[in-house]
C-alpha cells in the first residue's frame, strides 16, 4: 500500500487526501492510532542481526553487496590499480592527493596488507580530521557569523570546528560525540571540550536586530528542532511543525515534544577554557596587574563615572517600560522574556565603550584621561592574555518555561502544552529527566542524549553508518541520508545497513573502525570502470557494480591545488583565515580581514572563514552548501563560473606558478622530464606517448606566442623557481602547462 500510494502523495494536490487517509489521528491526548504502513516502516524497526549471505568472500560487506549483484546477474568490477586506489583513499580520507613518494611506496609494497596499512596511515594523520570535519560541519550548518542583515562575526565559533576535527582525529566514540553536542554542559560541565561541543545547537542564524523577541526565540528553537531531528535521527521533523507529518509517524506534538528539550537553553558565549591551574595562574597575574594599576584606573573611573551612568540611563530610558524593568532586575530574577530583552538590548548598547565616552569629556578631563590611558598602557606587560572563551549553549536554571504546540509554528498562537518527549510511535510517554546536580540546568537534554544513543534507538546508528557510507561512495545505502522516513529512499542493502549499524555499536561507536571496515572491502577497492552490460541492468550503479566516480568537492580542489603547488600551509586549528577575494568581489558585510602574508592565507579550506551571508566565492561556486540549514548531501554541479574561477583567478594562476616552480626545480630545462614531473605531481602517473607529444608541441607553439608578447613588452607569468639560464618564455610556457594540469578533468575528478 505505502509503496504504491506514498510517492504519488508527494504532489501538493494530493495533500488533502493524505490528511484524511494516511495520518495518525491528530495530536490529541490518548493513544494515537498510527496506520500499519507507518508502524511497519523499516527505519522504525529494531536493528536486527541479519543473516550473512552464503558466499565465499571473506569480507561481510562484500558478501552483502555480491548477493545483490548476483541476484541481478551483474559481476562486480575488478580491483582498481594501485595508483587509482591510493589516490581514491587519500582524497577520501585527507581531501588531498597522495605525494609521489606515498604512491611509490604503496605501488612497491608487496605485502598482502599493503592497502590496509595505507588506510591506517591516513587515519593516523591530523589531515584526516580536517577532511572529515567538513562533512560534519555541513550537517551542523556551521558558520561563524549571525546571518541576517549585519552578519556579525561570532569570534569564537571556530573552536567548535576544532572540536570536531579533534574528535575525529582522536576517534571519539560517536555516542559520546552525540552526547557532548546535545548535552555536554550538563553531562561534563568541567570539560571545556564538552561545553564547546554544545556549539552544535548554537550555529543557528540569528537576527540581532529582531523587532519581536519571542518570534526571534521561536525561530531559533525551530532551527534547533529541525536540525537535531534531521542530523541525529535522519527524520524530517521540520515537516511536522505546522501539522502532523503528512507521511511519517511524526505528530505535530512530537515536534514540540522534541523542541521541549531545548526550551530552556540560552546562549553561552563565554565558556571558560582554562584548566584549574591555568586559571589560578591567570588570576594571580591579573591581580598583579590590578594592584599595579589600581590608582590609575580609579582616576580613570572617577573621570568617567558620571558619563557612564548617564550613557547607561539614557540608553535604558530610550527603551520600552518592559525593557527598562528587565535592566533593573538582577540576572537571577529575570523571566525568560526579560532575559531575551536584556540580551538583545545589552548587545545593542555595547558600542558605548569607555574610549568613546572619553571623547565627550571636557577638554581638560579628556586630556587627563588620555594621559592616564598612556600610563596604563605601560603596565600592559603585566596583563595576562585575554581569557580564551568558547561559545555554546547552557541553561540558566532548572526550571524550564512551558512548551506549547504552536499553531502553524506561530509563537503567538500556542495550543496545548507538551512535556519533553520522543517519537510517540517509539516511546509515547513523557521523557524522564532530573535537574542537573549543580542546579543550573533542567537535565532535559541529558535525557535526550541518552535516548539518542541508547541501545533501543533504531535510528541513530543506522543514520550515522549510512552517512559514513555516503561520504565514502558519494551515495548512501539510503540515498536520502537525512530522510529515513516514508518519503525518503529505501535502503538498497537493508541487511548490510543493519549489519554496519550493529558493527558500529560493537566497535564502541568507533568511526575510524568503520572507515577501516568499509575501505578494506573489495566493494570499496573495485575499479570505477564503466561496463555497458552492468549499466544496462543497473544504470545508476545502486548496487555498486563499480566504484562511483565523481567530481571532487570545492574544498578538495582548492586544497589539492595548493598542495601540488607546494604552497599548502598545514598549520592546524585556531581562528579562521580570510583568503583574498577575487578581484572586483564586493566586501562582505561583517568584514573580510585578509592577512598580509600569502602563507597565512594558504591554509586548508576547512579553516577558511565561513561568513553566513557570503561564502568564500570559489568554494561557493563549487557547491559549498548554504549554512542556513543542515546539508546532508551536496550538489555537484558543473558550470561556467567554475571554469572561469579556475582559469582566470589570480589564485589558480598563483598555484600554477608554484607547481611550475616545483616542476622546474626537479626537471630543470629537460622538457621530457618537465612533462613527466608535471604528470607525476598532478596525476600520480607517467604521461603516455601521445600526451608527451601533445605537451611538447604545446611548448613549442606557446613559447612562440609568449616570445611575441615579451617582445611587445607585455607582462609574463613566471614560475616560483626560475632555473639559471632558462629563458622567460620557456618558463612561462611551463606555468601555462601547470595551469592546465590543474584545470584538467583528471585533476578534479576522483575515480
Amino acid at each position: 500500500m505505502s509503496r504504491k500510494i506514498g510517492p504519488i502523495l508527494c504532489c501538493v494536490a494530493a495533500l488533502a487526501f493524505v490528511a484524511t487517509v494516511s495520518g495518525a489521528t491528530a495530536s490529541i491526548a490518548g493513544e494515537p492510532d498510527f496506520p500499519e504502513h507507518q508502524r511497519s516502516h523499516w527505519a522504525f524497526q529494531p536493528v536486527a542481526e541479519p543473516d550473512m549471505p552464503a558466499s565465499s568472500t571473506a569480507h561481510p560487506i562484500d558478501a552483502f553487496v555480491l548477493a545483490r549483484l548476483r541476484g541481478e546477474g551483474i559481476r562486480p568490477a575488478a580491483r582498481a590499480d594501485r595508483t587509482t586506489l591510493i589516490r581514491r583513499a587519500t582524497f577520501d580520507l585527507h581531501g588531498l592527493p597522495p605525494t609521489p613518494a606515498e604512491v611509490q611506496a604503496f605501488v612497491e609494497d608487496a605485502s598482502p596488507d599493503a592497502f590496509a596499512k595505507v588506510v591506517d596511515r591516513l587515519l593516523a594523520s591530523p589531515r584526516y580530521g580536517e577532511r572529515w570535519a567538513r562533512h560534519w560541519l555541513d550537517l551542523a550548518r556551521y558558520a561563524e557569523s549571525e546571518g541576517f542583515k549585519s552578519d556579525e562575526t561570532r569570534p569564537n565559533a571556530w573552536r567548535y570546528r576544532d572540536y570536531v576535527i579533534e574528535s575525529l582525529n582522536s576517534d571519539k566514540p560517536y555516542d559520546r560525540f552525540v552526547q557532548e553536542q546535545i548535552a555536554g554542559d550538563e553531562l561534563w560541565p568541567n570539560d571545556p571540550q564538552a561545553r564547546i561541543a554544545t556549539g552544535f545547537n548554537r550555529h543557528y542564524a540569528d537576527e540581532s536586530n529582531a523587532a519581536i523577541l519571542m518570534q526571534r526565540r521561536q525561530e531559533v528553537l525551530l532551527d534547533i528542532t529541525d536540525t537535531v531531528g534531521s542530523v541525529f535521527l535522519g527524520l524530517t521533523y521540520s515537516c511536522a511543525k505546522c501539522h502532523d507529518h503528512k507521511f511519517d509517524p511524526i505528530l505535530q506534538s512530537d515536534y514540540y515534544r522534541l523542541q521541549a528539550f531545548f526550551t530552556n537553553v540560552a546562549t553561552d558565549d563565554e565558556i571558560h577554557l582554562l584548566t584549574e591551574r591555568q586559571r589560578a595562574e591567570r588570576e594571580l597575574q591579573q591581580s598583579k596587574w590590578e594592584e599595579a594599576t589600581a590608582e590609575i584606573r580609579s582616576q580613570m573611573d572617577a573621570l568617567l563615572e558620571a558619563k557612564r551612568a548617564d550613557a547607561f540611563e539614557t540608553q535604558v530610558n530610550r527603551r520600552s517600560p518592559e525593557t527598562r524593568d528587565a535592566f533593573r532586575k538582577n540576572a537571577g530574577n529575570r523571566s525568560m522574556y526579560e532575559r531575551l530583552l536584556f540580551q538583545q538590548h545589552m548587545w545593542q548598547m555595547r558600542y558605548h565603550n569607555d574610549a568613546k565616552l572619553a571623547n565627550s569629556l571636557p577638554d581638560a578631563d579628556k586630556q587627563r584621561y588620555r594621559e592616564l590611558e598612556a600610563e596604563l598602557a605601560e603596565f600592559d606587560h603585566l596583563k595576562p592574555a585575554p581569557l580564551p572563551v568558547g561559545m555554546g549553549i547552557r541553561e540558566l536554571g532548572p526550571e524550564a518555561p512551558a512548551t506549547h504546540v504552536l499553531s502553524f509554528a506561530n509563537y503567538a498562537a500556542p495550543l496545548e502544552e507538551v512535556e519533553p518527549g520522543y517519537l510517540t510511535l517509539l516511546d509515547p510517554g513523557p521523557a524522564a529527566y532530573a535537574p542537573a546536580l549543580d542546579g543550573r540546568s533542567s537535565g532535559r537534554r541529558t535525557a535526550l542524549a541518552g535516548w539518542l544513543t541508547g541501545a533501543d534507538n533504531p535510528l541513530t546508528a543506522r543514520v550515522m553508518a549510512n552517512r559514513l557510507w555516503h561520504y565514502h561512495f558519494g551515495q548512501g545505502i539510503v540515498r536520502t541520508p537525512s530522510d529515513f522516513g516514508l518519503m525518503g529512499e529505501r535502503p538498497t542493502h537493508p541487511e548490510l545497513l543493519d549489519w554496519l549499524a550493529l558493527e558500529f555499536r560493537r566497535s564502541g561507536w568507533s568511526i575510524k573502525q568503520m572507515h577501516r571496515l568499509i575501505m578494506n572491502s573489495q566493494t570499496y577497492q573495485q575499479s570505477s570502470e564503466f561496463r555497458q552490460a552492468a549499466s544496462d541492468e543497473d544504470p545508476l550503479n545502486r548496487l555498486l557494480w563499480r566504484f562511483p566516480p565523481q567530481r571532487l568537492e570545492g574544498e578538495v580542489i582548492r586544497d589539492s591545488m595548493l598542495a601540488v603547488a607546494g604552497r599548502l600551509n598545514h598549520r592546524v586549528g585556531g581562528p579562521s583565515v580570510f583568503p583574498e577575494l577575487p578581484m572586483g568581489a564586493s566586501q562582505p558585510r561583517g568584514g573580510w580581514d585578509v592577512p598580509e602574508s600569502q602563507h597565512a592565507q594558504d591554509r586548508r579550506s576547512v579553516y577558511v572563514f565561513v561568513r553566513r551571508n557570503s561564502r568564500y566565492p570559489m568554494l561557493e561556486s563549487f557547491d559549498m552548501p548554504d549554512t542556513h540549514e543542515s546539508c546532508a548531501r551536496r550538489s555537484l554541479t558543473t558550470t561556467a563560473p567554475q571554469a572561469l574561477a579556475l582559469l582566470n583567478s589570480e589564485h589558480t594562476l598563483g598555484w600554477a606558478q608554484g607547481l611550475a616552480g616545483r616542476i622546474l626545480d626537479a626537471a630543470g630545462a629537460d622538457r621530457d622530464r618537465q612533462i613527466r614531473e608535471g604528470f607525476r605531481l598532478a596525476y600520480s602517473r607517467q604521461p603516455d606517448g601521445w600526451e608527451k607529444d601533445t605537451v611538447l608541441t604545446f611548448f613549442e607553439t606557446q613559447r612562440g606566442i609568449i616570445a611575441e608578447r615579451a617582445a611587445a613588452g607585455e607582462p609574463l607569468l613566471l614560475p616560483d623557481v626560475l632555473p639559471a639560464g632558462m629563458s622567460q618564455q620557456e618558463a612561462a610556457a611551463v606555468v601555462d602547462f601547470a595551469h592546465m594540469l590543474l584545470n584538467s578533468n583528471e585533476f578534479v575528478f576522483g575515480n
Binding site: P7, A205, E207, A211, R479, S621, L717, F749
Partner: protein, 470 residues
C-alpha cells in the same frame, strides 16, 4: 535520451514516485532521478519547457529597497488630512512596529500634490511625474501584504518568500524552471547602485537548489562577472593556446572513460566560459547605445545617471535572453525626513524607469518583458520622529507593467489611512505566483524535492492576482 527531456516538467512531477522504485526503471525515470540528485545528468541550465504559454519572457524588477511610501506615491489617502495631528482612531488598534511605539504617534498626511493621469485616470503623486506618463501600462496593486517588520527579513521575503534566509530566490526558481535562453550570459542578474543591499547575496541565493541557479551580481566597473577577464599576464592568444591544450588533455582522458558524460559537461563548461568572455562585455557595452537612448534613461544627469545606466543595462540583458534582472535602488528607509529622502530616491528612479518603459515599448519588447516596481514593504500613515514614516508590511503598493499585465488599473485597496490592505489583499506569495504564471510557470507544479518535501517558490501559499492579468 536527451538532456532536454530529462528535465522536462512531466519528468519532474513524477520524480518523487520514480525515485522510490528500486529497479526496472525506464530511461526517463533515470535521467529525472539523476537530475534531481545532481549526480549524473547535468546541464542544470538546459532550456526547459514552461507549463503553459508564457506571457513574458523576462522580468525587470525595479527593487526600491528600504520601503517606499505608498501613500506618498501611488495610493492617495485624503482621509489623512482629516486626521492630521491626531493619533489613529482606536478602531485601528496599535500594531507592533519596527520602531517601538510609533503606532501611538499622530497621523501625517502626504505633502505631495496628486493628479490623475492617462486615460485610466490613475492617481500618481508629483514625486513620479515621468512614470505618471505611463500609468495606462501599469497595474497598480495597492493591497500588498508581507510578514516581516525589518528590512533584512522583508527584502528576503520579497525575493524568496520567507523572512528567514535559506530559500531559493524567485530568479533562481525561474532559472530552475526554464533554464537558460542564452548560455553566453548568466540567466539571473542583479544590478546594484551604491547602496548596500540588506542581506546581500542571500537575496539572490539558490537556497537548497543547486548553486548553478543563483543570481550573478554584476560588478559596476570593468568586466561584469567575477574572473571573466583573461589576466593581463596571459592575453588572448596565449589563453587560446592553453585552452587548446586543456581540451586535448581532456579529450584524451575522455577516451579512457568514454561513458562518463560528466567529463563532457566539464569540457563544455570551458567552451562556454570562453564564449562568455566574449559576450558578457559586449552585453554591458553601453557605447553601442545612441545618445538619445541614454538621454531617455536619464544618463545625462548626475542624479539619474547610475540608475539609468542600470536599467539600460537591464534592457540590453533581457534583449539577449537574460530571464530575470533585478535593479536595486535606494535607500528608501525614511524613518525621518521623508520629504528629503523620497524626493531624492523618486528623483533617482523616476526618469530611468519611465525611460525603460518607453524604450521597451518602442522596441516592441514591453509585451514580453514584465516590469515590476516596489520595495519590501510600504510606510506607515503615522509619523516617526515628526517627519518620517515607519515600516508598513500590512498594506503597501507595488506595480507591474508589460508582458501579460493589464495596465491602467488599480487593484485592491488599503484602508482609509493606508495602514492595512482592505479589499483583495495580496500577500508576497501571490505576487510570486503571478510572476511565475506570467513566465509560463505554475507555482504549484514548479517543485523541488528537498528534505522530504516538495518545496515550491510560494512555500505554503500563493494565489494568482487574476485582475492583473491581461
Amino acid at each position: 535520451m536527451s538532456q532536454r527531456a530529462s528535465v522536462s516538467m512531466a519528468a519532474r512531477s513524477r520524480r518523487a514516485f520514480l525515485s522510490q522504485a528500486s529497479g526496472g526503471l525506464g530511461a526517463l525515470a533515470l535521467a529525472a532521478v539523476q537530475a534531481q540528485h545532481g549526480h549524473a545528468a547535468r546541464d542544470p541550465l538546459a532550456p526547459r519547457d514552461p507549463h503553459h504559454a508564457p506571457r513574458a519572457k523576462s522580468v525587470i524588477w525595479c527593487f526600491m529597497e528600504g520601503g517606499p511610501s505608498h501613500m506618498d506615491t501611488f495610493d492617495p489617502k485624503p482621509a489623512l488630512e482629516k486626521y492630521a495631528g491626531q493619533p489613529m482612531p482606536e478602531s485601528y488598534g496599535r500594531p507592533l512596529t519596527a520602531m517601538p511605539g510609533t503606532a501611538h504617534n499622530t497621523l501625517m498626511p502626504s505633502q505631495r500634490k496628486w493628479a490623475q493621469h492617462g486615460e485610466s485616470g490613475l492617481w500618481v503623486s508629483d514625486w513620479y511625474p515621468h512614470v505618471a506618463e505611463h500609468v495606462d501600462d501599469l497595474a497598480v496593486i495597492r493591497s500588498c501584504t508581507a510578514d516581516g517588520l525589518n528590512h533584512v527579513g522583508s527584502v528576503c521575503q520579497m525575493n524568496t518568500g520567507s523572512i528567514l534566509a535559506g530559500r531559493p530566490s524567485m530568479g533562481a526558481w525561474v532559472t530552475y524552471g526554464l533554464g537558460s535562453a542564452n548560455r553566453n550570459l548568466p540567466t539571473y542578474v542583479i544590478l546594484n547602485d551604491e547602496v548596500r543591499i540588506n542581506g546581500a547575496s542571500k537575496n539572490w541565493s539558490a537556497g537548497f537548489l543547486p548553486a548553478a541557479y543563483q543570481g550573478t551580481l554584476f560588478k559596476q566597473e570593468g568586466a561584469p562577472i567575477l574572473n571573466l577577464e583573461t589576466p593581463d599576464a596571459i592575453g588572448g592568444r596565449q589563453q587560446r593556446g592553453k585552452l587548446d591544450l586543456l581540451a586535448a588533455l581532456n579529450r584524451h582522458h575522455k577516451q579512457k572513460h568514454p561513458h562518463e558524460s560528466e567529463l563532457d559537461a566539464r569540457l563544455q563548461s570551458y567552451e562556454l566560459a570562453f564564449r562568455m568572455q566574449a559576450h558578457a562585455p559586449e552585453a554591458v557595452d553601453l557605447a553601442q547605445e545612441s545618445e538619445a537612448t541614454k538621454e531617455l534613461y536619464g544618463m545625462g544627469e548626475e542624479h539619474t545617471a547610475m540608475y539609468g545606466r542600470n536599467l539600460l543595462l537591464a534592457r540590453r540583458l533581457v534583449e539577449r535572453g537574460v530571464r530575470f534582472v533585478q535593479a536595486y535602488c535606494g535607500g528608501w528607509d525614511a524613518h525621518r525626513k521623508i520629504e528629503e529622502n523620497h524626493t531624492k530616491w523618486c528623483g533617482v528612479s523616476d526618469k530611468p524607469i519611465a525611460g525603460l518603459l518607453a524604450d521597451l515599448k518602442s522596441r516592441g519588447m514591453l509585451d514580453e518583458t514584465l516590469v515590476i516596481w516596489g520595495g519590501e514593504f510600504g510606510r506607515t500613515p503615522f509619523n516617526e520622529e515628526g517627519d518620517g514614516r515607519d515600516h508598513n508590511p500590512w498594506g503597501f503598493t507595488i506595480w507591474m507593467a508589460g508582458g501579460g499585465v493589464k495596465g491602467g488599473q488599480a487593484i485592491g485597496t488599503t484602508d482609509e489611512l493606508g495602514l492595512r490592505a482592505e479589499e483583495s489583499p495580496y500577500h508576497v506569495h501571490d505576487i510570486h505566483a503571478t510572476i511565475l504564471h506570467l513566465l509560463g510557470l505554475d507555482h504549484l507544479s514548479l517543485t523541488y524535492l528537498h528534505n522530504g518535501r516538495s518545496e515550491r517558490a510560494t512555500v505554503n501559499g500563493g494565489k494568482l492576482i487574476e485582475q492583473a492579468l491581461a
